[in-house]
C-alpha cells in the first residue's frame, strides 16, 4: 500500500509484457496455421473439380479423381462406427448409471480405457494386422481396417460419452427415481436425450479421428485404390491416399493438395452437421 503509484506502474508494465508475449505467440500460431491452410487451399483448389470427386484415380492417382477412395473411406468409417458405438456407449452407460465409481469392475474398465486412449495408432495397426488380417484371416480388407479403427475409437467414444452422461445433473436421476421411474425409462427418456449433444460431439470427435487415421490402416485395409466391391476388398482410405501421393508418387503433389483439401472440408462439414444435429435434437426433445 506504500508506493502505490509505483507499484501499480510495475503491475501495468508486467501486464503489458504478458499481454505482448501472449499476443505475439497467438500471432505466430495464427500466422503459421493460416499459412498452412492457405497453402492447402491454394494448392488444392486448382486441381479440385467435380470430376475429381466423381472419378476413380488413374495413373497412381496423378490423374482422375478420388471417388473410389472416398467410398472406401466411408465404408471403413461405417464399419468402425457400427462396431465401436454400441460397445463404447453401453460401457459408458454402465460406468455412469449402474456402477459405483469405486467398484473394481468400473476401475478395471476405466483403467483399460485410459491405457487404450494412449496407445499409438501404429500399435493398433500392428495389432489389427496380426489379429484381424492374419489370425482371423480377413486379409487386407475394409473390414479388418474398420475393426482396427473401432478398437481405436473405443476409448474416445467411451470417455466422451461418460463425460456427457456424468454432466447430466444427478437431480434428474434422483427426481425420476423419486417418481418411481425405472432406470431404463430414466435413461431413455431423460438421460440419453440430455446427454445427446455430448454424445454427438463425441461421435464427431471419433469420426474426425477415424477419417484422419493413416497408421492403423497401413497394414490392415491396404493400399488398393480401386472401387471396393465388398467389405472383404482392400480399400485405400483418403488419408492414406494423401500419404501415398505425397511420399511415393512424383508429381503427386497437386492431387495430394486437392485430396487434403477435400479431407479437411469433409471434416469441417461433419463438424457443422453434428452441431446442427445436436441442436436439433435438443429442440426436438423439448417439443415432444
Amino acid at each position: 500500500m506504500r508506493d502505490n503509484q509505483q507499484l501499480h506502474t510495475v503491475h501495468r508494465i508486467r501486464d503489458r509484457l504478458a499481454q505482448c508475449l501472449i499476443y505475439s505467440a497467438v500471432f505466430l500460431v495464427g500466422a503459421v496455421f493460416i499459412w498452412i491452410l492457405a497453402d492447402l487451399a491454394r494448392g488444392g483448389i486448382m486441381h479440385l473439380s467435380w470430376e475429381f470427386i466423381t472419378e476413380s484415380p488413374r495413373d497412381a492417382g496423378r490423374a482422375g479423381g478420388i471417388a473410389s477412395i472416398l467410398i472406401s473411406t466411408l465404408l471403413i468409417l461405417c464399419v468402425a462406427l457400427i462396431a465401436a458405438v454400441p460397445l463404447a456407449w453401453s460401457t459408458a452407460i454402465l460406468l455412469v448409471e449402474c456402477m459405483p465409481a469405486a467398484s473394481s469392475f468400473g476401475k478395471t474398465v476405466r483403467f483399460s480405457l485410459h491405457v487404450l486412449a494412449g496407445v499409438p495408432s501404429i500399435v493398433f495397426g500392428l495389432f489389427g494386422n496380426a489379429f484381424f488380417s492374419i489370425y482371423l484371416g480377413l486379409g487386407f480388407s475394409i473390414l479388418s481396417g474398420g475393426l482396427t479403427l473401432a478398437c481405436m475409437l473405443l476409448p474416445i467414444l467411451t470417455s466422451t460419452a461418460e463425460a456427457g452422461l456424468r454432466a447430466v445433473p444427478d437431480t434428474y436421476r434422483l427426481s425420476a427415481s423419486a417418481l418411481g421411474m425405472t432406470r431404463t425409462a430414466t435413461l431413455i427418456h431423460l438421460i440419453l436425450p440430455a446427454a445427446a449433444p455430448a454424445l454427438a460431439a463425441g461421435l464427431l470427435l471419433g469420426i474426425g479421428r477415424a477419417l484422419a487415421e493413416t497408421a492403423a490402416l497401413l497394414f490392415t485395409s491396404g493400399y488398393v485404390e480401386r472401387m471396393p466391391g465388398s467389405l472383404l476388398d482392400s480399400g485405400r482410405a483418403l488419408a492414406l491416399h494423401i500419404f501415398d501421393l505425397s511420399m511415393n508418387v512424383p508429381g503427386g503433389d497437386m492431387p495430394a493438395y486437392a485430396s487434403a483439401l477435400v479431407l479437411v472440408t469433409l471434416l469441417l462439414c461433419i463438424n457443422i452437421l453434428a452441431m446442427k444435429l445436436a441442436y436439433g435434437l435438443q429442440r426436438w426433445r423439448i417439443m415432444t
Binding site: A101, T171, Y172, L174, S175, S177, A178, G180, L190, I286
Partner: protein, 277 residues
C-alpha cells in the same frame, strides 16, 4: 380477475378429519442408522410420522435430515456406498423387505427437492412421463390429471396456454410448483420435501409455502427446512436433529408448539432461540 378464478383450488376435503387430533402413525422408523462408507450420517433414529400432519425436520447442516428423507423412499439405493440399517414401516409394510416393490413405494411417496428440478422437457411431458411410467397412458386421462394437478398447485392459469414450451423456461417458483404438481400427479399419500423453498426468492417462496399449507390434511407431509419461522408457521410436529459424536441423531420430537415454546432438551432451546438463519 379471470386469473384469480383459475387459481382457485380444487383440492378435495380432508380425508382424516380435523388435523392431527388423533395421531395415527403412517411411517414408523425404528432404529434407523445410515452410513456413507465410513461416515455415519444417522445413528439409531426412531420416529413416527403421523397421518395428515406436517412434520418439520430441523437442525444444522449435515445432521442427516436429507439422508433421513431419502431413506424413507429408498432413494438411498441410488447412492453408492450408502448403507441403511434398521426398519422403516410405511403403512405397516417393511420397505426393506426383498419382495417390496420400490417403484410402487416411490409412487406412494412423492418427493420434492431443494432445487427445482423439472426435466428438460415440455411442461406437459414433465407430468405425463411419470404417469406413463406407471401405466397411465390414455391421452384423455393424462390430460385430465395434468390439468387437475396444475390447478392444485395454482400453476394452471399461468401456463395453460404454453404447456408445450420447455419447463426450463419457467421461473424458479413456477418450476418448483411444477415439481409439486409432478409429484401430486401420481396420487401419493405421503409427500417428502427437502427445503422446498430455500432456493427461491422470498415472493416465490411465499407462494410455495401457501401451497404446502393447502396440501395439509390431504397428504402426510414431511418437510426439511432451515427456516425456523417457516417450520413454526406450517408444521404440526417438529423433529430436531443434531450432530453428536460425528453422527446425526434425533434430539427431540414433538408437537410444534412444544418444540418451539417449551422444548425439553437444552439443545433444542438453544437452537430454536439462537438461530438467525
Amino acid at each position: 380477475m379471470n386469473a384469480n378464478q383459475d387459481d382457485a383450488f380444487t383440492l378435495g376435503p380432508l380425508e382424516a378429519g380435523p388435523v392431527c387430533c388423533d395421531p395415527q402413525p403412517v411411517i414408523q422408523v425404528k432404529d434407523l442408522s445410515l452410513h456413507y462408507g465410513d461416515k455415519i450420517a444417522l445413528d439409531k433414529v426412531t420416529l413416527d410420522i403421523y397421518k395428515g400432519c406436517i412434520t418439520a425436520l430441523i437442525g444444522p447442516s449435515g445432521c442427516g435430515k436429507s439422508s433421513f428423507l431419502s431413506a424413507i423412499n429408498r432413494l438411498t439405493d441410488l447412492i453408492p456406498g450408502c448403507c441403511v440399517n434398521g426398519n422403516i414401516f410405511v403403512y405397516d409394510q417393511d420397505i426393506h423387505r426383498s419382495d417390496s416393490n420400490v417403484q410402487e413405494l416411490r409412487r406412494q411417496i412423492g418427493m420434492v427437492f431443494q432445487k427445482p428440478t423439472p426435466f428438460p422437457l415440455s411442461i406437459r411431458r414433465n407430468i405425463a412421463l411419470p404417469l406413463n411410467e406407471h401405466g397411465i397412458r390414455k391421452q384423455a386421462e393424462v390430460a385430465a390429471i395434468t390439468e387437475q394437478v396444475l390447478r392444485d398447485v395454482g400453476l394452471w392459469a399461468e401456463v395453460y396456454d404454453r404447456l408445450d414450451t420447455s419447463a426450463l423456461s419457467l421461473s424458479g417458483g413456477q418450476q418448483q410448483r411444477l415439481c409439486f404438481a409432478r409429484a401430486l400427479a401420481l396420487n401419493p399419500q405421503i409427500l417428502l420435501m427437502d427445503e422446498p423453498c430455500s432456493a427461491l426468492d422470498p415472493i416465490a417462496s411465499g407462494v410455495v409455502e401457501d401451497l404446502i399449507c393447502r396440501l395439509q390434511g390431504r397428504y402426510t407431509i414431511v418437510i426439511v427446512t432451515h427456516n425456523l419461522a417457516q417450520a413454526r408457521r406450517i408444521a404440526n410436529y417438529a423433529a430436531l436433529f443434531w450432530i453428536k459424536e460425528r453422527a446425526g441423531q434425533l434430539v427431540e420430537f414433538g408437537r410444534c408448539q412444544h418444540i418451539f415454546e417449551s422444548p425439553s432438551h437444552e439443545l433444542t432451546a438453544a437452537y430454536v432461540n439462537g438461530v438467525r438463519g
